[in-house]
């Protein structure tokens, strides 16, 4: 199908889903006529019509709430929130209703909706267009939280999210929307929603990350190999909730060292959950403390300070070297 960017892969997955299931309805601000603020829905209005690709008023709370109602009736709404910083009015609906419909009805109703939002920093945007608050959603039982790191993964994970019977928060790392192109087959094949992906094998240290930070993480792995002869195993978490803790644990049991990388603020970030799981289940395998490389506990700064805020490959390299000092 040719080489696609991540945002083109998202659009291709949405088109595929609309094509294969008449219950799929897209809604969000500017997704129709404008094709979405990042063009993730470009061309879909013309192809599928205004009933299925629906521009909404600027009202995130109702976008999510109406989606829950549609999903309760068996439709498969995919709503777009323009930026993650605008998702908080919708949090009430996701937490209070979407996540709980199955439990409250003992499975008689479910909430097969997807809430998509571009997230993360690194594009010189203001703070609320740059944040990375995935841990808020990962804290909520009943929600799935999925973050792709490449065009191929975006396509397969988004199809899986739309077909899943439970609500999925699908966060798209906008910094890498157009960073790389790769071959993406429009074959309708979904990726699993409960599996980490091991991006490269190594025996000295396990690097765990997700989304755009995998760029820096893979760069760091290359540098460590070239400069220190340290071979890192790199794991893309892909699905934060439910977490495939077994894959991470198995890797750490082999390497004995773990560095977790995320661009979200440090305290209560999802890295803390992974570190806690390792402390609970793999402590005896650890040769060094688990280290987190994260953004500081500050507000995402404006462009001139942003590079000091976002973790860099050098930070990851330094963290790994620290863990290697333990015998």
């Amino acid at each position: 199908m040719g080489e696609l960017t991540m945002v083109e892969a998202v659009a291709m997955a949405l088109a595929r889903a609309l094509d294969e299931d008449p219950d799929v309805v897209l809604l969000g601000e500017d997704i129709g006529r404008d094709g979405g603020v990042f063009r993730a829905t470009a061309g879909l209005l013309d192809r599928f019509g205004a009933d299925r690709v629906r521009d909404t008023p600027l009202a995130e709370s109702a976008i999510a709430g109406v989606s829950v109602g549609m999903a309760a009736q068996g439709l498969r709404p995919v709503c777009e929130i323009q930026f993650m910083g605008f998702v908080y009015p919708a949090l009430d609906q996701m937490l209070s209703h979407a996540a709980r419909l199955r439990n409250r009805t003992r499975g008689r109703l479910s909430c097969p909706m997807v809430l998509r939002a571009p997230y993360g920093g690194g594009i010189h945007a203001p703070e609320h267009h740059s944040e990375s608050t995935e841990a808020l959603f990962a804290h909520i039982p009943g929600l799935r939280v999925v973050i792709p790191s490449s065009p191929v993964r975006a396509y397969g994970l988004l199809l899986a999210a739309i077909r899943d019977p439970d609500p999925v928060v699908f966060l798209e790392p906008k910094r890498i929307y157009r960073a790389v192109r790769e071959e993406v087959a429009d074959d309708g094949a979904a990726l699993p929603l409960d599996r980490c992906a091991v991006l490269c094998r190594g025996s000295d240290v396990t690097l765990v990350s997700w989304g755009a930070m995998l760029t820096e993480t893979l760069d760091a792995a290359d540098a460590l190999s070239a400069e220190d002869g340290i071979e890192a195993e790199v794991i893309d978490v892909c699905t934060l909730k439910p977490l495939d803790a077994a894959t991470i644990r198995a890797s750490v049991e082999r390497t004995g060292r773990c560095v977790i990388v995320h661009e979200a603020a440090r305290t209560g970030g999802f890295g803390a959950e992974i570190a806690a799981r390792l402390a609970e289940t793999a402590l005896v395998s650890l040769l060094a403390p688990v280290v987190r490389v994260t953004a500081p506990d500050t507000v995402v700064p404006l462009l001139k300070l942003e590079r000091h805020y976002m973790p860099a490959a050098a930070d990851i390299v330094a963290a790994v070297r620290r863990t290697m000092e333990y015998a």
């Binding site: 109702a62 109406v66 109602g69 003992r106």
Partner: protein, 337 residues
């Protein structure tokens, strides 16, 4: 689009109703009241958890509106929801057993008073977050329109919820997309302990719809026939594809907001006056007796039947098994495979 709003003249001119209709409303309202009285007793005995908000006094609202519904129409409401469930035909046993947190309950002991559902009766809950059920109602109506059926979704909320922002996001979307949703504001005049007068300077709540182009009206919610007449109009408006409609139903709850309510916000006299002069069940009872549709003895017989139904429900709710501890872990996500 021309938008009209008006206050219903329900009390000035009573719509006519047949003997059978009146008897049906009498039975349905009395069942809700006796059920709620029993729920109050069980709560007092410590058998009910998950809070409990009684509907006593407001029975004419749901009974009048259910009389206008047809098969496939949906209903969704907030936490004062037992009346809605019984009025749409859900089994009192299953409702009461949910209050006691038992396996025989509609959510098999995991939803409680505020969170019950029935796919068969198209009852979409029971929701505890005030006003947050309103966009869900519009979403349900969206699905009706998308699928091309002519069903409507009765979306109930209270005067307290009417001050939540989500309601107005939903009004705008529902009218923009002509969704078949009836917004039913059950104005019982108190949001917990805060009266409407102390929470808004709006003279009415239904007139807020004017800003969104939504038609609506205010109706006497203590008069089941007036509610039904207004409901028929609203239902026709929606079924005919004209988009949403707002009914502000003026009602009154006799009991506290929940089971622990200090009731410092109104006088005993105020409540007693409503009970004496406006009670929805007594109004129908009077019509039945004065119209010679029923004798005192026949009504007593109905009372006795209903007491039996409610007692059976209470017994069932106490005998039904408790959920197994394993149930703590179920129904968070779909089972794999």
């Amino acid at each position: 689009m021309a938008t009209t709003t008006r206050r219903s003249s329900g009390r000035a001119k009573k719509p006519a109703a047949s003997k059978d209709e009146l008897l049906q409303y009498y039975r349905d309202m009395l069942l809700i009241r006796r059920f709620e009285e029993k729920a109050g007793q069980l709560y007092g005995m410590g058998l009910i958890g998950g809070f409990c908000h009684l509907y006593i006094g407001q029975e004419a609202v749901v009974v009048g509106l259910e009389a206008t519904a047809k098969e496939g129409d949906q209903r969704i409401t907030t936490y004062r929801d037992h009346g809605h469930m019984i009025a749409c035909g859900m089994d009192p046993k299953g409702v009461m057993a949910e209050l006691t947190g038992r396996e025989g309950g509609y959510s098999r002991g995991k939803g409680g008073s505020m969170h019950m559902f029935s796919k068969e009766k198209h009852f979409y809950g029971g929701h505890g977050i005030v006003g947050a059920n309103v966009p869900l109602g519009a979403g349900i109506a969206f699905a009706n329109k998308y699928r091309g059926n002519d069903n409507v979704c009765f979306t109930y909320f209270g005067d307290g919820a009417a001050n939540q922002g989500q309601v107005y996001e939903t009004y705008n979307m529902a009218e923009l997309w002509d969704l078949p949703v009836i917004f039913v504001i059950e104005n019982n005049q108190y949001a917990m302990g805060t009266s409407v007068k102390r929470s808004t300077k709006s003279k009415t709540l239904y007139e807020r719809g004017v800003a969104y182009g939504i038609e609506g009206e205010q109706v006497d919610g203590m008069d089941v026939l007036a509610v039904k007449a207004a409901g028929e109009k609203a239902v026709k408006h929606c079924r005919d594809g004209n988009g949403p409609y707002i009914l502000e139903v003026m009602t009154y709850r006799y009991r506290g907001h929940s089971m622990s309510d200090p009731a410092k916000y109104r006088t005993r006299e105020e409540v007693q006056k409503m009970r004496d002069e406006r009670d929805p069940i007594n109004q129908v009872r009077d019509l039945l007796l004065k119209g010679k549709h029923a004798t005192e003895d026949e009504l007593k017989e109905i009372d006795k039947d209903i007491k039996g139904v409610v007692n059976d429900a209470a017994q069932f709710a106490q005998d039904s098994p408790e959920p197994a501890v394993e149930e703590l872990w179920t129904d968070i996500y779909a089972e794999a495979g």
